[in-house]
Subunit: 588 residues, 2 copies
C-alpha cells in the first residue's frame, strides 16, 4: 500500500479516472469515433437549446465544452454525456426570464450564477450523501413535469417557426402573445421551419428504410440518419447565405457569434439576483440529477455496471461549476446524446473529452459559419428531438392506478402549464409528499385489555380481554412526530371526554421508535390538560433511546403519573384488583 502506483492514486482521488487502468489503442479509436458522432449532433443542439434558454447561442457551445472535461474527471458513468438539455434550458429560461433583464451579457452572467448555485446544491447533496433527495420526485410527478415542459417548449419554439415575437412562461401567456403576434407572421420563417421539421422527421422515419432498400451498408446508413440535423443545418445555412434571406425577407438568423475560447470568469450579479436564483437552482439541480441518474442507470444496466448516486452528484456539481466559470449555463446528463455516445461505441469518459475538444474547435474557429443559420431551423431541431416526450398516457395510467398519484401528476401537469415550471413542480412535489404524510398522520392505535390468565395486554376489539374500569390502556403503533402529534392530542382529549370514569391513562410505547420535539410538546400539553381534568398520565414500555431523550427533556419529572417498565406493572400498580382477578380467572 505504501508504494501506490501513480495511476492508482489518481484513480482514487478522481473516481472518474477509474477506467484509466487498461486503457489501450482500441479504446482510444472507439472513443475518438464516438466523440466525432456526438459532436456533430451536439453543435446544432447546443445552439438551439441556448436560444430556448433565452441566451445568446454561443452559451450553448460553451456549456458543451468545460462541463464535459469536469464530468470526465469527477463523474461515475462511463458513457453519460453532459451538456445543455431541453427541460433544464426551459427552466433556465423561466428563472432568467423572471429577472426581467434585457442586456444579453447580463443574461449570460445570471445564467452562470444559476449554474454556480446548482453546482453548490449538487455538491452539498453529494457531500452529505443526500442523493436520496431525488426520491421525493415520484415517477408520475416527473413524467407529468416532462410532458408539460415539452408542451411549453413546443409552444415557445413556435415563435421561431412562425417568425413572430412571442414571450411568456406559461401556456396562457404564450397563447395570448401568439394571438396578438399572429398578424406579424413571417412567411419565409414558416417555410424554412416546416421544411426543416419535415426533413428531420422524414430522415428519422423514412430514411433508414430507403437506404436499406438502396443497399447502403448498415453502418453508413446509421451514420447518415444521425448526421441528418448537421446536414440540414449546413444546407439551410448555405441557402440562407446564397439568397441572403435575412436581408431579402427578414428571416431571423443566428447572426454574429464571438469566435475564440470560452470566457473564463466568475459570474458577477447583484445580491438580489443571487437570492432570486436560489429556488430555481434547487429545482434545476434536482431535476437535472433525476434525469441524469435515470439516463445513467438505464445505460449502466445494459453494461451490467452500477451508478453511485452520491458520486454522480459530485460529477454533475463539477460539470455545472465548470459551466458557470466558462460562460455556460446549467447542464446535466442528456438522454439523446448519451445514447448516441453509447451506440457510437464510446468506451470511456475520454470520448467526452474528445467531444469537448471538437466543440472547442468549433467555438474557436467556426462560429462565422453559423451567421446565416435560420433560427427557424434550430427550432425545428428542438421540435423533432422532443415532441415525443409529451406523453399524457403515463399520467392517465397513474390516475387509473391510484387517485393520489394521479392527482399529484395532474396538478404538476396543469401547474407547469398554467403557473410555470417552478411553481408547477413545487406544487406536485408538495402534494405527493403531503399525501404520504397524510397517510401516516393518523397512526394506528388500540385500547388494550388483559388476556385472562396472563400478563399480556391485547386490543379489546380483537381479543377477549378484561378491561380496568378506571385505567385506560392506550397503545400507539407509530413513531410520534410533528405530523401526528396533534392527532394524539385530539385522541387523548376525546378519550378523556368520553370516559368520565377514567382516573388514569397509560400510554403504551413499545412501537414508538422516536418522539420528536413537536410530539414532546404535545405530550407535555396532554399531561397538563389531563392533570386539570383530574386524570393522571402514565407511560409504559418506553424504548431505551426514546426514554433517554424524554428524561433529559424533563418530561418524566413533569408527568402527573409514573413510567413503568412493563404494561403489566402499570396495571398491577394502578388497578391491582382487576389485574389480579384477570390472572385468577385462568388459575381457578
Amino acid at each position: 500500500m505504501r508504494s501506490e502506483a501513480p495511476l492508482d492514486r489518481a484513480a482514487r482521488l478522481l473516481p472518474g479516472l477509474g477506467w484509466l487502468k487498461g486503457y489501450d489503442r482500441a479504446s482510444l479509436g472507439a472513443d475518438a469515433l464516438a466523440s466525432l458522432v456526438t459532436a456533430i449532433l451536439l453543435v446544432p443542439q447546443s445552439l438551439a437549446y441556448a436560444l430556448l434558454a433565452g441566451l445568446p447561442a454561443q452559451a450553448g457551445l460553451y456549456a458543451s465544452i468545460a462541463p464535459l472535461f469536469a464530468y470526465a474527471l469527477f463523474g461515475s458513468s462511463r458513457v453519460l454525456a453532459v451538456g445543455p438539455v431541453a427541460v433544464i434550458s426551459l427552466m433556465t429560461a423561466a428563472a432568467i426570464g423572471s429577472l426581467e433583464l434585457t442586456d444579453p451579457g447580463e443574461k449570460m452572467a445570471a445564467a452562470g450564477a444559476l449554474a454556480l448555485l446548482s453546482s453548490a446544491f449538487l455538491l452539498l447533496f453529494g457531500l452529505f450523501r443526500l442523493g436520496s433527495v431525488a426520491n421525493f420526485l415520484s415517477r408520475p410527478v416527473v413524467h407529468a413535469f416532462i410532458t408539460a415542459s415539452t408542451v411549453l417548449i413546443i409552444a415557445s419554439q413556435l415563435r421561431h417557426v412562425l417568425g413572430i415575437d412571442m414571450h411568456g412562461a406559461t401556456l396562457p401567456e404564450l397563447t395570448l402573445s401568439f394571438l396578438t403576434g399572429m398578424p406579424g407572421v413571417q412567411l419565409t420563417a414558416i417555410v424554412v421551419g416546416l421544411a426543416s421539421l419535415g426533413f428531420l422527421l422524414a430522415a428519422r422515419s423514412a430514411l433508414p428504410g430507403l437506404l436499406a432498400r438502396a443497399g447502403t451498408p448498415a453502418a453508413l446508413a446509421d451514420g447518415l440518419v444521425r448526421a441528418a440535423p448537421a446536414i440540414l443545418v449546413a444546407v439551410v445555412t448555405l441557402i440562407a447565405w446564397r439568397f441572403d434571406l435575412n436581408a431579402a425577407t427578414g428571416l431571423s438568423i443566428v447572426g454574429e457569434l464571438p469566435s475564440g475560447l470560452p470566457p473564463f470568469a466568475v459570474p458577477v450579479v447583484e445580491l438580489e439576483t443571487w437570492r432570486a436564483l436560489i429556488g430555481p437552482a434547487a429545482l434545476i439541480s434536482l431535476i437535472g440529477f433525476v434525469e441524469s441518474v435515470s439516463v445513467g442507470q438505464s445505460l449502466a444496466a445494459k453494461h451490467r455496471e452500477h451508478i453511485l448516486p452520491n458520486r454522480e452528484l459530485v460529477g454533475l456539481g463539477a460539470a455545472n461549476a465548470a459551466a458557470a466559470l466558462t460562460g455556460g449555463y446549467p447542464v446535466t446528463g442528456g438522454f439523446a446524446r448519451s445514447v448516441v455516445n453509447d451506440t457510437a461505441g464510446a468506451r470511456t469518459p475520454i470520448a467526452g473529452v474528445f467531444t469537448a475538444i471538437l466543440i472547442l474547435g468549433v467555438a474557436a474557429f467556426l462560429t462565422p459559419a453559423f451567421y446565416h443559420l435560420p433560427k427557424a431551423t434550430l427550432a425545428a431541431t428542438i421540435l423533432a428531438a422532443i415532441w415525443k416526450l409529451a406523453d399524457i398516457k403515463e399520467t392517465w395510467a397513474a390516475w387509473r392506478y391510484a387517485r393520489s398519484d394521479g392527482a399529484a401528476a395532474f396538478l404538476t401537469l396543469f401547474g407547469v402549464l398554467f403557473l410555470g415550471v417552478e411553481l408547477g413542480l413545487t406544487l406536485g412535489v408538495a402534494v405527493s409528499v403531503g399525501m404520504i404524510l397524510q397517510r401516516t398522520m393518523q397512526p394506528h392505535w388500540a385500547r388494550l385489555g388483559q388476556v385472562p390468565g396472563t400478563h399480556h395486554f391485547r386490543n379489546i376489539d380483537r381479543h377477549d380481554v378484561i378491561v380496568s374500569p378506571h385505567v385506560y390502556s392506550l397503545r400507539v403503533d407509530s413513531a410520534l412526530y410533528f405530523a401526528n402529534a396533534r392527532f394524539l392530542e385530539d385522541l387523548v382529549s376525546r378519550i378523556a371526554a368520553q370516559h368520565p370514569e377514567t382516573t388514569d391513562i397509560v400510554l403504551m410505547f413499545p412501537a414508538v421508535n422516536f418522539v420528536d420535539a413537536s410530539a414532546l410538546g404535545s405530550l407535555r400539553e396532554i399531561n397538563a390538560r389531563l392533570a386539570e381534568a383530574g386524570i393522571r398520565l402514565h407511560l409504559s414500555e418506553v424504548k431505551g433511546p426514546v426514554a433517554d431523550g424524554l428524561i433529559q427533556a424533563g418530561l418524566f419529572d413533569e408527568l402527573s403519573g409514573n413510567v413503568f417498565l412493563s404494561h403489566y406493572a402499570a396495571l398491577r400498580t394502578l388497578d391491582p384488583k382487576t389485574t389480579l382477578r384477570a390472572e385468577g380467572v385462568a388459575s381457578s
Copy 2:
C-alpha cells in the same frame, strides 16, 4: 325537525351564530365593555402594523373592521379577535415589497389581492377538510420562524425610531441600509421613539405596582395599564401638533388619512401580480392558521371548549375575503388582542362586532386626529408589543432534544434572517418533512427461512430456520411508495449480485399496505432486470386491495414468476425438496 326555529336555522347555516341562543342583557353589557377596551388597544396597533406591512396607515384600520364581522358570522372561537398581526404584516411587507411598486394605491390593491388569495387557500383547506396541513409546521420550526420574524420586525422598525430611510427584507440588507443611512439620523425621531418605548415598557413593568401602592382599585389600574398605548398616542400627538414638530424638525408623522367608510371593491392587479402572490399567500394562510388555532385552543382550553380546525379555516377565510374587499390586508387571530378581549370579559362574537363598529367610527370621523401622530411612536408600540417574542431558548432546547429538530429550527431561523421570511419558512418546512421521509426511506426488511417442523417463515438473523439454497425469501415491512421505491430496487439488485446461486426471489408482502405508482414502476423494473439476469420474481401474501391494484395495472401478467397466497405455498412449489425436509425435521 320540520318547523325549525329561525334562530336554530341561522345557527346551523352560520356556525358562528351558535351563541345566539341564550344571549341576554348581561352578555350584551360584558361584550360592550370588552369591545371598548379592545378597540382602544386596536386602533394604534392597526395603524402601526399597516406601516410595518409597508402600506398606508388606513389599511390597518380597514383590516380591523369588516374581517371582525365576517369572523363573528363564520368563525368557531367565541373570543378570538382577528385583525392585523405582527408576523403576517411582516410577511405582507415581504410579498408586496418584492413587487417593487411605488404607488400607495397599487400597494393597497396588491395587499388586497394577497388577502383574497389567502382567503381562497383557507377556504379550500376548510372545504376539503385539510386543516391537518398545519401539522406540517413542526413546533420548533414555528418557534424559530416567529423568533427570526421578530428580529426582522425590530430591525425594520429602527427606521422610524432613528428617522432614517431603511429598506430591505433580510438582516444583511437592513444592516447595510442602516449603516448607509446612519449619517441621516434624525434626533427628534430618536427622542420621541425612545421616550415612547420607555413609557410603554415602564407602564407595563412599573405602573401596576405604583398604582397598587397608591391604592388605585384593581379594575381601574388594570384599565390604565391597558390604555397606556392609547394615552401615549394621544399625548405625543398633542405635543407634535402643538410644537408642529414635523415642520420644525422634520419628524416623520402619519399625515393625512382619508376619512369615511372603508372602500368596497374587488382588488384589481395584473395577472403577473396575482401569480407572484400565490406562494406568499399560501405561506401567509398557513402561518395565520397555525397562529390563530394555537391562540384559539389555549383560550378554549381555559373555557373547556373545543376549537374545530376545519371550521376555523372557514372563519379565517371569510375574514380575509372581507379584508380583501374593503381595502384591508391579510388578517388572522392575534394573541395580544384575543387575550385582552377575553380578560376584558367578552362572552360572544358580538364583542368583535362592537369593536368593529367602534373602529368604523374612528375610520369615518377621527382620522384627522392622527395627522400629527409621529411614526416613531407607532414603531415604539410595535417594539413594546413584540420584543419578547424573539426567544432563542426554544430553538436551543429543540437542538438539545434532537439534532434533527434543532437543525430544522436553526435552518428556519437563519433562513428567515438571511434569505427572507418566505424562503426561510419554506426551507424549514421542507427540511423537517424531508427528514421524516428520510427515516421511512429505508424500510425494515428481512431474509426469511422456514421454522423447522412448521409452515412458518421467520427472519434468518433471529431464528433458527432452514433456508432454500436457490430461492431467496425477502419480506419488506413497509408500504412501498416513491420515497423508498428506489431503496427496494437497490436492495434486490444487491441480493441478485451477492447470491449468484439464486434462481427465484419471493417478495413476501404481508406488511405492504399500499404500493404507489412509483413503487409499481420499480417493481416492473426489478422484474425486468431480474429476468435479464435469469432470476424469476414471485410475490406472496399480497393484501387484497394491493393485489387488486397490481392486477389492474397488469403487473401480475408481466411477472416472470407467480403470485402465491401463502409464503409456504411459494416455497413448496419452488423448492419442494428443502421445504419438505424442513417439515420432516420436526416429524422425524
